[in-house]
Symmetry: C2
Subunit: 129 residues, 2 copies
């Protein structure tokens, strides 16, 4: 049930450290496709930043000018990708993010040194001059 997510928690080193393998690239591209949508990004941020670390679907629909089925579709994409999980309690379904999966995306794009220290060979000279 959790094997797919747990087996890949160690993936991946930052892109600035070493080349990604083909299989890791396929896996990370699938995660990135799930978040590469403005509505899903906003849903993730609404869920992730909600008080208590979880959001009722009733907290989410008001933020969008979209139908409930459309919101549900986007939530399902995030859930299928392993970025969020959910549970029904009484009337409502509650959602929370899976920090270890979100952190994999963050780690992939973590700079090795301070961000903005180098923006190419030419700019490095300008910055350090």
């Amino acid at each position: 049930m959790f094997a797919v997510t747990d087996a890949t928690i160690t993936c991946c080193a930052p892109i600035a450290r070493e080349p990604l393998s083909e299989s890791d690239a396929v896996e990370m591209a699938a995660l990135l496709k799930a978040v590469a949508d403005p509505v899903r990004l906003r849903l993730l941020s609404l869920i992730g930043s909600h008080a208590g670390g979880e959001a009722c679907v009733c907290d989410l629909t008001d933020a969008f000018d979209l139908t409930a089925p459309t919101i549900s579709h986007h939530l399902k994409v995030l859930r299928t990708a392993g970025l969020i999980d959910s549970e029904r309690r009484g009337t409502w379904v509650y959602y929370w993010i899976i920090p270890s999966v979100v952190a994999k995306l963050g780690a992939l794009f973590t700079p090795l040194s301070e961000p903005g220290a180098a923006s190419g060979p030419v700019d490095v000279e300008l910055v350090t001059a």
Copy 2:
């Protein structure tokens, strides 16, 4: 020439800290679409991890069983998104990543506390008990 990139360097807070605005979500989704492809992710990692911080197009093509025009197409997508830049020197074109733009993706998915500390409301109770 650099206005688009520089104007957005402050975007965005981690998704676990605050809701993304609609315009920030549109901007970040465009960046994420550019990297949500296995070939482009591998290209980014080959360029970003290459000795000297830049890679000749001649360093990139051998890693893929793809035609040169296909590789060029993917490099153009990354360049148009502002994730890499390039320069022709003599026979070859050299590419390097733009760390400040890559870092924006990393910042978006940075956990607020240690990764894996919370994976839902139930686990939070366990951790803090």
